[in-house]
């Protein structure tokens, strides 16, 4: 196990993960940006969350965006989740097919570029089942489909900056990094 849980390796009692790569000197990376605007997007029933938002961003000719989920429900949902790995301290688990419909409780996401310059999105969200229980995790392209009454999303579009995926040598995961566009 490569997760520090004992007092000698945890920091002030905070549990840490010992990743396989070197600890990078820059712990916080940031990029100033201009917000082009915020629009409320109404996804039609049957639309895929990621594909729909990415196409709207492409149509606007803008490099990136964040989004927050609003009112609505999903007619199809499959989640990935995080948990312990065998070779790495943390990895993905799943997929978990969630019985639908589920209503949106909360969630936010990023739209940027993958390592090949194609659109890529990253979203974590929480949903409410009909019995009131919450379910949540990491959303998957093509597996977050707007329900019969659609889905509202607030899209915060960036004018001159974005997140782009590249390998993080520290974790060896390909993750979003901020950059000027």
């Amino acid at each position: 196990m490569t997760v520090a849980s004992d007092p000698a390796t945890a920091m002030n009692g905070m549990r840490l993960a010992i990743h396989s790569g070197p600890t990078l000197p820059d712990r916080i990376n940031w990029q100033g940006a201009s917000l082009h605007g915020v629009v409320r997007v109404d996804l039609a029933p049957g639309e895929d969350l990621f594909t729909s938002l990415e196409s709207r961003l492409d149509a606007a000719g803008l490099p990136g965006a964040f989004f927050n989920l609003g009112q609505g429900a999903l007619a199809e949902l499959t989640l990935m989740t995080g948990g312990p790995g065998t070779d790495v301290p943390i990895t993905f688990h799943g997929p978990i097919d969630v019985e639908t419909p589920v209503g949106v409780e909360a969630g936010s996401g990023v739209i940027g570029l993958d390592e090949n310059g194609r659109r890529s999105s990253h979203c974590h969200a929480v949903f409410r089942r009909p019995d009131g229980r919450l379910v949540g995790g990491h959303l998957i392209r093509g597996k977050a489909i707007a329900g019969p009454r659609g889905l509202q999303v607030d899209l915060m579009m960036l004018a001159d900056a974005r997140f782009a995926r590249r390998e993080d040598p520290e974790t060896q995961f390909t993750v979003f990094h901020p950059e000027r566009a």
């Binding site: 840490l16 916080i28 940031w30 605007g37 995080g82 974590h124 379910v135 949540g136 990491h138 915060m156």
Partner: protein, 117 residues
């Protein structure tokens, strides 16, 4: 299209692992010269979530929980209280305020922050 004057200056922030999410965002706000800031959107993970329930720390066994809908005001001088949802490996969810100094970034955290100087 609507705009919020508070969002006129925004930054994209990425946090590396093993630093407390709240304290790292306070440091990011200081690095950006913000007197105050708030989270507009965030996606990330923690090693093991610890929530603050009326002063009592509640540890949610990890490692590797996804965090959804992180929100709150960031006070660069310290003492910020951020809230959100913790998504566990079985997709169960806990919600609440993140205990200050107790929630290490797991893999990464991507944040859209708006601030005022």
């Amino acid at each position: 299209m609507t705009t919020d004057p508070f969002t006129d200056r925004v930054v994209l922030v990425k946090l590396q692992p093993n630093q407390d999410v709240t304290q790292a965002l306070e440091q990011a706000a200081r690095d950006c010269g913000f007197a105050s800031a708030r989270i507009l959107g965030a996606v990330g993970s923690v090693v093991e979530a610890v929530l603050d329930r009326d002063g009592e720390e509640v540890r949610i066994a990890g490692p590797g929980q996804e965090i959804a809908a992180l929100s709150g005001e960031i006070r660069p001088a310290g003492g910020s209280r951020l809230s959100g949802y913790v998504c566990c490996m079985d997709a169960s969810v806990f919600g609440g305020t993140f205990a200050y100094g107790r929630n290490a970034v797991g893999i990464t955290f991507e944040v859209l922050m708006a601030g005022q100087t």
